[in-house]
């Protein structure tokens, strides 16, 4: 697929941020280190890098490496999500005050919360509905991959719980549903054919 490389509001691409991360964040780049959008993305990319490293380490022992497209799809989703996006309102009684939390910060929070679960990787994360309108009902849509051998129903429930808890603590969104679709398994060893 030859889609143009998407850029963040600050002009950075996923490739630039990936290179910066790969170089251990040196030399220090103040335009990245003082940009919250870049920092949210760096954190998410670092987690994916750790994951791919773990899978590759496993592969050395027993398992096939994840296909590149699989990781690339996650990285593409991260890049899309980490843009600041909409401003989600937080209440304040004084009309002279306006408080919001960015959609990018909330999606990064969801990914961080999901990463606390062992054996599950979030693929895509979306807030569906008028999240920027106070009181509007919002659905959270998540896709995920589960490590082979881990219980899908339990992990799906745990994912819903951690996401609901995080959103309840850090936003004032009216969450109608947290929909989880497990659309992939990773770490599978085929007996006849390795994908």
């Amino acid at each position: 697929m030859n889609e143009p490389e998407p850029t963040l509001e600050c002009g950075k691409t996923v490739e630039e941020l990936g290179d910066y991360l790969a170089a251990d964040r040196t030399p220090y780049d103040p335009t990245i280190e003082t940009c919250p959008v870049c920092l949210n993305e760096l954190r998410a990319l670092a987690r994916v890098s750790r994951l791919s490293g773990d899978l590759l380490a496993q592969d050395a022992a027993t398992l096939p490496a994840p296909p590149d497209t699989w990781l690339q799809a996650i990285m593409h989703n991260i890049h899309r999500e980490m843009r600041a996006g909409r401003d989600l309102p937080l209440r304040h009684p004084d009309p002279r005050v306006r408080i919001t939390v960015t959609e990018g910060a909330v999606l990064a929070l969801i990914r961080a919360a999901a990463d606390d679960l062992d054996g599950l990787i979030v693929g895509k994360c979306e807030l569906l509905g008028d999240a920027d309108r106070p009181g509007a009902s919002v659905d959270v849509h998540l896709t995920a991959s589960v490590r082979w051998g881990r219980p899908i129903p339990e992990l799906s429930t745990a994912l819903r719980d951690v996401v609901s808890t995080a959103l309840g603590r850090h936003t004032e969104l009216d969450i109608a549903a947290v929909d989880v679709t497990i659309e992939d398994l990773h770490g599978y060893v085929a007996t006849k054919e390795v994908r």
Binding site: P30, E33, P36, D94, V97, R98, V101, H170, T171
Partner: protein, 110 residues
């Protein structure tokens, strides 16, 4: 909530310190608007220091003191409560007689 001595709109460093002192605030980010960053860019050219200062931005628009803060909150905090405390802290720090507009944007929960 702590009471604070009112400050003039100018010293954004003072306001930044007060925001950073609010429980649950992890950091303050530089303002985004080019006009707000222009003095920093000029200073950067003069000093060779490229890093934009992370601070609360204070400006005057048609007689209204406009305060903008982009903040990161901690994951163990309660972000709405933290952000409201930031707004209250800023409000207390400003001249109560002046027209004021406060804008808090939580850009990272870390």
């Amino acid at each position: 909530m702590t009471s604070a001595d009112p400050v003039d709109a100018g010293p954004s460093d003072v306001l930044t310190e007060r925001v950073l002192a609010v429980a649950g605030v992890e950091r303050v980010f530089p303002p985004t608007a080019l006009t707000a960053r222009l003095p920093d860019l000029v200073a950067a050219l003069a000093t060779g220091k490229l890093e934009p200062p992370s601070r609360v931005d204070v400006s005057d628009t048609d007689g209204t003191t406009v305060v903008n803060a982009r903040i990161a909150t901690r994951r163990e905090s309660d972000t709405p409560r933290t952000a409201r405390q930031v707004a209250d802290t800023l409000m207390e720090s400003l001249d109560q007689a002046a027209a004021v507009s406060i804008r808090i944007r939580v850009v990272q929960i870390t």
